[in-house]
């Protein structure tokens, strides 16, 4: 059995996973409208590449990635693009972001897909490009674009590929059911990933001990492969990337760095499945497995839900009773955030919709003062001092917060869970992190502003000096001029001399005269044409007028010719 390491701290919240595992993966009716936010991942938002009114097929790309850290968005079903505008999005702030709305025609007409069952012939770059093009992002909840993560993995040698199937968050059973029903496809996905990462030495699947059926299914599927299924003791948060890497390998990811910096890549099992669908079946990421659970919902079950389905549509289909529900949570009870309304769409990172009853997750008790009892420090998996961080977050002492390693906090919620005084510690840390980042950015922009200001000062001084030098030269010249006391005649000659110097040299004058001669000739022909015209149709005084202008043009030609002969003599 592989040696395991034990992470410090951690809590054991009631799992509540049984309710949603009674039934298999269900399917929902296609919602009438689908809302697809353009930012469903870490990085820059995608750019729409369709217009309002376009008819789109299922799986067609409707927004392309922009910038190096981004992911495209595809149409989850065939239909018509009805709007591209700002809509409220599932985000703790409750603010809105740019979304594309599709009215589905419920014909489910697929775009033609190009699967690559022989992905091994393709080079890792091409396969990674396929993954990127299919819009695959981390489905574990973070939403890091998978292609970017695998490319990171390729720049530095990767010796261990870890597939995260722990799913340590209570209530959520999406990965569990996916493994039970589609283990083989996940293994194929792992094959694709290891191909992209140039065959890492070790491939481990970390799964918690509270999922016996899933473990058997995985062992069955991995029998003939080099993949090792490792059963990890059940403890929240053993599923965090940093925690799982430590549990399986005993190594710690250095602060502020990625697992790829120590030769490891950690991918969620759902993402591996999506990668298989993207590369082998050519299907973009348009739907995901999601748990709908909580006592306020009549039916607790896992569904394969189209991305962009409004939460209200899902709740409707699961006998949801608004009166019983104390709050609506997207994600698990520990790290999920509460939604302000049920009209918000499901996105790629939605692992679960939790509608707990008042008894399940009761109203929050008001916060009592912190007695530094240290239960939070015992629960912290990153072995920080949450009570000191809270103390300095309260008094906004940024220096001390960073000295106590605030940015190593993974916001897992274990400390707030055990805090006897009900202090929302994680919110204190999130807002302090935000403030520190804001003040850091302000400092950077202030430094830039100072640089620009100093450069402007230098520029103005240089211009001033240049003007000064010119003024000086002119003063010296007039000075010299005054002291040389020459008479009035000399001054006139000097002026003439200056004028002649400015006269152009003879051959320049000849060229100028020739040009004016040609111009005069052209005007003469024009005048004659107009004269002929006037003779044909015009009245008497028009003919006289044209006659005069012809005469003038002819004289001009004569005059230029004469000046030219004079010059040649």
């Amino acid at each position: 059995m592989r040696q395991l390491w034990e992470t410090p701290g951690g809590v054991h919240p009631p799992e509540n996973k049984v309710q949603s595992l009674k039934l298999g993966i269900g399917h929902l009716a296609i919602p009438e409208k689908l809302i697809l936010p353009l930012i469903q991942h870490i990085g820059d938002a995608a750019k729409p590449c369709v217009a309002i009114g376009d008819v789109v097929l299922k799986g067609q790309k409707i927004a392309s990635a922009s910038g190096d850290l981004s992911a495209p968005v595809h149409a989850p079903t065939s239909g018509v693009i009805s709007a591209i505008e700002d809509r409220p999005v599932a985000h703790p702030s409750g603010m809105s972001a740019l979304c594309i709305e599709i009215i589905s025609d419920s014909e489910e007409r697929w775009i033609d897909l190009y699967g690559h069952t022989d992905y091994k012939q393709l080079s890792p770059q091409e396969v990674s490009h396929l993954i990127a093009d299919a819009g695959v992002t981390g489905l574990g909840g973070a939403g890091f674009p998978s292609a970017a993560k695998l490319d990171n993995g390729r720049t530095k040698p990767v010796n261990t590929l870890i597939i995260n199937a722990t799913e340590c968050e209570p209530y959520i059973t999406a990965d569990d059911i996916l493994i039970r029903e589609r283990a083989a496809e996940i293994i194929q996905g792992i094959g694709v990933i290891s191909h992209v990462l140039d065959m890492p030495r070790r491939i481990l699947i970390g799964i918690e001990s509270n999922k016996p059926e899933a473990i058997d299914a995985l062992r069955e599927a991995c029998k003939s492969t080099a993949i090792e299924v490792v059963v990890v003791p059940t403890k929240y948060p053993s599923g965090g990337e940093k925690q799982l890497v430590y549990i399986l390998t005993g190594q710690e990811i250095p602060s502020g760095q990625l697992p790829s910096d120590i030769g490891m890549v950690c991918v969620n099992s759902g993402t591996a499945f999506a990668i298989k669908r993207a590369v082998i079946d050519g299907q973009p990421l348009i739907s995901r497995i999601m748990t709908v659970t909580g006592d306020a919902c009549g039916i607790n079950r896992n569904y394969e839900v189209l991305i962009g389905t409004p939460v209200s549509h899902i709740l409707e289909k699961n006998k949801f009773i608004r009166k019983n529900c104390s709050r609506l949570i997207m994600g698990g009870p520990m790290m999920g955030f509460s939604l302000s309304s049920s009209e918000l769409p499901v996105v790629k990172t939605t692992t679960c919709i939790l509608a707990p009853s008042h008894s399940e997750i009761p109203e929050e008790d008001p916060q009592q003062p912190c007695i530094r009892c240290g239960l939070c420090a015992e629960a912290c998996p990153a072995s920080l001092l949450p009570q000191q961080l809270y103390w300095y977050a309260q008094s906004e002492d940024h220096e001390r917060l960073q000295a106590h390693n605030l940015f190593d906090c993974i916001e897992c919620g274990a400390c707030s869970y055990v805090c006897p005084s009900n202090i929302p510690l994680v919110q204190y840390y999130r807002s302090s992190k935000g403030n520190i980042i804001n003040s850091r950015n302000a400092k950077i922009s202030a430094a830039k502003a100072r640089e620009r200001f100093e450069f402007r000062q230098v520029r103005l001084n240089k211009a001033e000096q240049a003007r000064e030098v010119k003024r000086e030269a002119r003063r010296v010249a007039t000075e010299k001029a005054k002291t040389s006391s020459s008479s009035a005649a000399d001054i006139i000659n000097a002026a003439n001399l200056r004028a002649k110097a400015r006269q152009a040299s003879p051959d320049q004058q000849k060229a100028k005269l020739e040009r004016s001669l040609m111009a005069a000739k052209m005007r003469l022909d024009e005048a004659q044409e107009r004269l002929a015209e006037a003779n044909k149709s015009g009245s008497a005084e028009q003919q006289a007028q044209q006659h005069a202008s012809v005469e003038g043009a002819r004289q001009k030609v004569e005059q230029t010719k004469r000046r030219l002969e004079e010059l040649i003599r």
């Binding site: 930012i39 999005v89 985000h91 703790p92 702030s93 603010m95 809105s96 972001a97 109203e363 929050e364 008790d365 008001p366 916060q367 003062p369 977050a393 309260q394 929302p424 919110q427 204190y428 999130r430 807002s431 302090s432 935000g434 403030n435 804001n438 003040s439 302000a442 922009s445 202030a446 430094a447 830039k448 502003a449 100072r450 620009r452 200001f453 450069f455 402007r456």
Partner: protein, 202 residues
Amino acid sequence: MIELLTENIILAALVSLVGLGVLFGGLLGYAAEKFKVESDPIVEQLDELLPQTQCGQCGFPGCKPYAQSIADGDAINKCPPGGQSTINAIAKLLDVAAPSLDEEHGEEEIRTVAFIREDECIGCTKCIQACPVDAILGAAKLMHTVITQECTGCDLCVEPCPVDCIDMLPIEEDIDQWRWSIPKNQHQLIATSSSTVHETLT
């Protein structure tokens, strides 16, 4: 010599103390030479803390002169763009109590950015000369526009514009600048029993 001193005490007292004074004076003179000190680096650190808007609301032509005057003991609460956080930072550096912002120099508002209404701009370059950080793009008789990332919101350009086509717009927050706020200060909580409604934590 010693007997002479021990008889008349006054002379002894005089000689000993003056002697000591002279001795220590000499010692300190020599030490002053050895420990010569050049310029004061504190101005640099103060300038670091100021928001570099070069707006002049503190009464000085820029941030550096104000930093210099703080080093020479000027009041530290004259910088409205920096606001209370800058005052606290300076107070922490100089280890003095942090006063509140001096109203006479202006209040601390949310950050604003200059914006030129392009249809009214006549291209007179007055604002370009006034902008301390060259954040306005344009040339004589050609269209002017403000580079929003570079503008520090010091509104020095608003006043010289003859057609008054520049106005200061607040920077609105979009979704990835949004930050969690610190929970309401629970010490003033008026909840008498545990079941009171905990108002929404925005």
